[in-house]
Every structure is written in structure tokens, then in C-alpha cells.
Amino acid sequence: MVEHRRWNDIVAYLILTLGVLLVVFPVYVALIASTHDAATVVNGNMPMTPGSHTWDNYYRAIFVGGSRASREPVGHMLINSFVMAMGIALGKILISILSAYAVVYFRFPFRQTAFWIIFITLMLPVEVRIYPTYKVIADLKMLDSYAGLILPLIASATGTLLFRQFFMTIPDELLEASRIDGAGPYRFFKDTLLPLSVTTMAALFVIQFIYGWNQYLWPLLITTQDSMQTIVTGIKKMLTTTDELAEWQLAMATAILAMLPPVAVVIFMQRLFVRGLVETEK
């Protein structure tokens, strides 16, 4: 360090503590609201300490659903979100590690063309082409299906670029050594490349799991049945009734449930998360 001044550290601690409070406060309020009964939450004077309805609220949110309007319980939405997030993360890893392997380790006609076809997808997020994509899914009879939720969102280049970049850093000697040992493309992939790629795969998995879990517009469009909704879209529907009827304590319990899995992933796999985030942006 250049110099060490005591007041400098104190200022840093003050500002950072303030920042953490700012970041945590909205979630704290939601957490508190999810422990009170409906009347306490709605009267606009909710205490800032936990109430006694925690178990009741979470039980109802997950298994029973709201009482006033015919609201769905969110238990099965959690499962849908999980399937969608896993499908997107694993699907993307699978198709992109294969295509990166082809582009880096083989020479064939139209190699550059294939790479560019994939690369261009970086430029257009799904939001720009929602209705035409919707129509494709409808024509393929994939509305209200996991395939419809997952496939359009794995059509992107981020994974391919990430693996390509990583493969380029692997020394050529490894492939030459494998070839001398008599390994073909399959053996080299399975015994050398895959074990080396574990960290890259894990980093991509973390980023894509969060991306998949947090999708909103796409599931909103292509799911019409309540049984196929994801939790992030479900939470909005809890609030579309008029304000007096919205059960905010259940909505807040749902919000907590909806953010728990991806936030846990960030906190417990912080290294992989940071690595994935920094590398997929390059």
C-alpha cells in the first residue's frame, strides 16, 4: 500500500457498510413481510422485526396458493424453473463444447462460415425477436413444453466462444502426445480435453443457470397453462389482482423463494461465478 492512514480506512468502512445496507435493505423488507399476516402487511405500518407467520406463509405459498383469487401454489413453479435453468445450462455446455471442438481441432470447408453463423447470434438477444420466435415455437407445437422454454435460449454463441478461447490455450504438444499414444478424436476429447475443461464448464454452468432461472419475458409468452409457469413469472401474476386483493405476504415469500437458488449459487460458487462472468464478457 502507498500509505496507510487511519481515517482513510474508517471512511472506507463507513461507505462500504452504507453500501451493503443499501443492497440488503430491499431484501430485508421482503423477508420481514413474508413473516407477517396479510393485515399487518397491508395496513402500511409493518414493523421492521420478524412476525410469527413465517411457517404459515411459506407453507401456503409453496403448497396451497393464495386464498382470495384462484392462485396457484409455487411449489411446481420452482420445479419448472429448476428444469428450465438446468436445461439451458447443460444444453448450452453440451452443444458449445462440441462445436468449439470442431472449430478449433479440425480443418474443413466452411469452417469460418460456421463460426460466423454462430458468432452473429451474440448480437441479438431474444427480446428483439420475440414474436417470430414465438411463432416458430407454436408451429413446432412446443408451446407449454420444456423444450420450448429451453431451446431458443441456448441458441447463442457465448459458450462456443468461451470454450474456443480455452482450447486455444491448451498446448499443441498435448494433442501430439495423444496421437503418438494412438488416441483418435474421441479418445483425445474424452481423456484429455474434457478433464481439462472442468473449471470452464463449471464457470459457464454457474452463469447460465442464473441466466436461465431469471428468464421472464420468454416463459411469460410461451406458457399459457399454470402448470408450466416458472416462479419468476408466477410472482407477477400474484400481484395482478387489484391492490386490496393482492396477498403481499405470499408474494414476498415467493420473491424470497425465487431468489434463493441463484443467490446461493453466487455466494457458494463465488470463484466460478466471477470467472464465468468475466470470461463470457470478453
Partner: protein, 293 residues
């Protein structure tokens, strides 16, 4: 950069590429080309027939006052979110870059909101600032401030800006911190020896050296505001009140779904595509130059 050690198979690489190419063609190129084609068509009221109308959808679009309004809204929204989240994140990152014992703890505490879905973030902020039951709306009312984001367009904008900034600080913080840590200590020490205090060192050494990161984040933030904030807007305001929070992306959705105007919606999609391609081009141009500092 190319590999010199390669395999000689002829058919295998195509098989390896096949899954990704099929998915990309079916779910990306086909719909994207449909969007372009549809923007030249007009469907009748029943969606049975469509006629080729040339540029009429575009002319109709650019004759709409609401379209210009949505452009202004997008501009205001993205500049506010980008400026605020970058400034706040930079402040926190410079503090976390100091040699504090608790720095790793602060880092985790700062980055987790990245994982909160935009729609969920919107619902959290709506709850805090809800005019009748919001925990923070009540003190505002007591202070004599007539706060109502459900009726007042500026209040609604303020609310979605706060929610969007709250979520984006995490991302900017992470990249600023990485940028700060890559600045060589020796440069800062040299500044200190020359008698520059912490503030002076920040503005004359750190901030200029950080400019590649800042510029990269600026582009990423604008893209974020364009697309990822859809969930926030839909959950908090639904584009209202009176269209005051309808951004360009939200309008594509609203016109196509609620208005049933697929041709107009497709024309808007094409305009957005052009904007995003321009932004991405800027980003790539810049990324190549990133190392030159």
C-alpha cells in the same frame, strides 16, 4: 491464432457442429429473418391474409408520436441507470480496493444482487415504495411529499431507475474492482512520492487508467437497460402510467401482444436490431483497443 496440431477427419467436424447449427438456424436465423420479412407485411384484422406493403410499417412507425416518446423514455432511462450505477459502483469499488481486512466479505455482500431476477427486483422495490402499503412511502407522505408511482409518470420512472440501478451495481462493482486491482501499485506509489494525495491520485492516475473498463461497462450497461430491464418494467409499472415508462423494447412487446399489430411490432424489432448491432460493433472495436493503455 490457429492450431497447428489438428485431426484429419472429414465428416466428424460437421457432426460435432450439427446440434448448435440446427438450434441456431431454427431458433435464431429463421425468426430473425421472419421479423425482417414481417416488417414489410400487413395482416388483416383476422390474421388470415397478409399483403406486402413495402416500407409502410416503418413510415407508420416513424409518424407515431408514441414511438418518439418511447425513444426519449429509453434514452432517459438508460442514461440515468448507466450514470448512477456506474458512479455508485465506482465509489464502492475504490473503497473495497483498499487493503481492508473485511474486503472479501464486502465483496460477496455487493455482488449477490446480480443473481436476483429483474422481475423479482422490481417487485421488491414496488413493495417498498408502494403508495399505500410501502415501508418507505409512508415516511415520504409524512414529510409532505405526495408520492405515487402508480399515477405519476416521473415517480414511476424514479422507481424503475432505482430498481434497475440496485441490480446493476453488483456487475459494475465486480468489473471496476478487477480493473482497479490491475492498476500497477508502482504508478500510484510514484504519484504519492511526488506528493499527490489520495483524491488527486484518483483523478489523475486511477480514473484515466480505468477508462477502458468504464467505457466497456458503459456499453454493457446500455445494453442491459435496453433488454434486461423488461422484467422490472413489466412487474413495476407495466409501461404506465400513460406510457411514461414504455421503453422501445417494452413497446415491441405491448404493440405485438396487446395491440395485435405484428407488422408494426416487427418493424420496431428491426429498428432495435440495428441499434444493438451498432452498439455491439462499438463494443468490439473498443475491446480490440483495450490493451493499448
Amino acid at each position: 491464432m490457429e492450431k497447428t496440431a489438428i485431426f484429419g477427419n472429414k465428416a466428424l467436424p460437421y457432426a460435432l457442429l450439427l446440434p448448435q447449427l440446427v438450434i441456431t438456424l431454427v431458433f435464431f436465423y429463421w425468426p430473425a429473418s421472419q421479423a425482417v420479412w414481417q416488417s414489410f407485411l400487413r395482416e388483416d384484422a383476422f390474421g388470415l391474409n397478409s399483403d406486402f406493403v413495402g416500407l409502410e410499417n416503418y413510415q407508420a412507425l416513424f409518424a407515431q408520436p408514441e414511438y418518439y416518446k418511447s425513444m426519449v423514455t429509453t434514452l432517459v432511462f438508460s442514461s440515468l441507470v448507466a450514470a448512477l450505477s456506474l458512479a455508485i459502483a465506482l465509489l464502492f469499488a475504490t473503497q473495497a480496493d483498499k487493503n481492508l481486512k473485511a474486503a472479501p466479505v464486502f465483496k460477496v455482500m455487493m455482488i449477490w444482487p446480480y443473481a436476483v431476477a429483474p422481475a423479482v427486483a422490481g417487485v421488491l422495490w414496488l413493495f417498498m415504495f408502494h403508495p399505500t402499503l410501502g415501508t418507505l412511502a409512508r415516511p415520504m407522505r409524512v414529510l409532505g411529499f405526495n408520492w405515487n408511482p402508480l399515477l405519476d409518470g416521473n415517480h414511476a420512472m424514479a422507481l424503475i431507475v432505482m430498481a434497475a440501478v440496485w441490480k446493476q451495481i453488483a456487475y459494475n462493482f465486480l468489473f471496476f474492482l478487477a480493473g482497479l486491482q490491475s492498476i500497477p501499485r508502482s504508478v500510484l506509489e510514484a504519484g504519492a512520492i511526488d506528493g499527490a494525495g489520495p483524491l488527486r491520485r484518483f483523478w489523475t492516475i486511477t480514473f484515466p487508467l480505468l477508462s477502458p473498463t468504464t467505457f466497456f461497462l458503459l456499453v454493457v450497461n446500455v445494453v442491459y437497460v435496453f433488454f434486461d430491464t423488461f422484467g422490472i418494467i413489466d412487474a413495476v409499472t407495466g409501461g404506465g402510467p400513460a406510457g411514461s415508462t414504455t421503453t422501445m423494447v417494452y413497446k415491441v412487446y405491448a404493440d405485438g401482444r396487446l395491440g395485435g399489430d405484428l407488422g408494426g411490432s416487427a418493424a420496431q424489432s428491426v429498428v432495435l436490431m440495428v441499434i444493438v448491432i451498432a452498439l455491439t460493433a462499438i463494443q468490439f472495436r473498443y475491446v480490440e483497443r483495450k490493451v493499448q493503455y
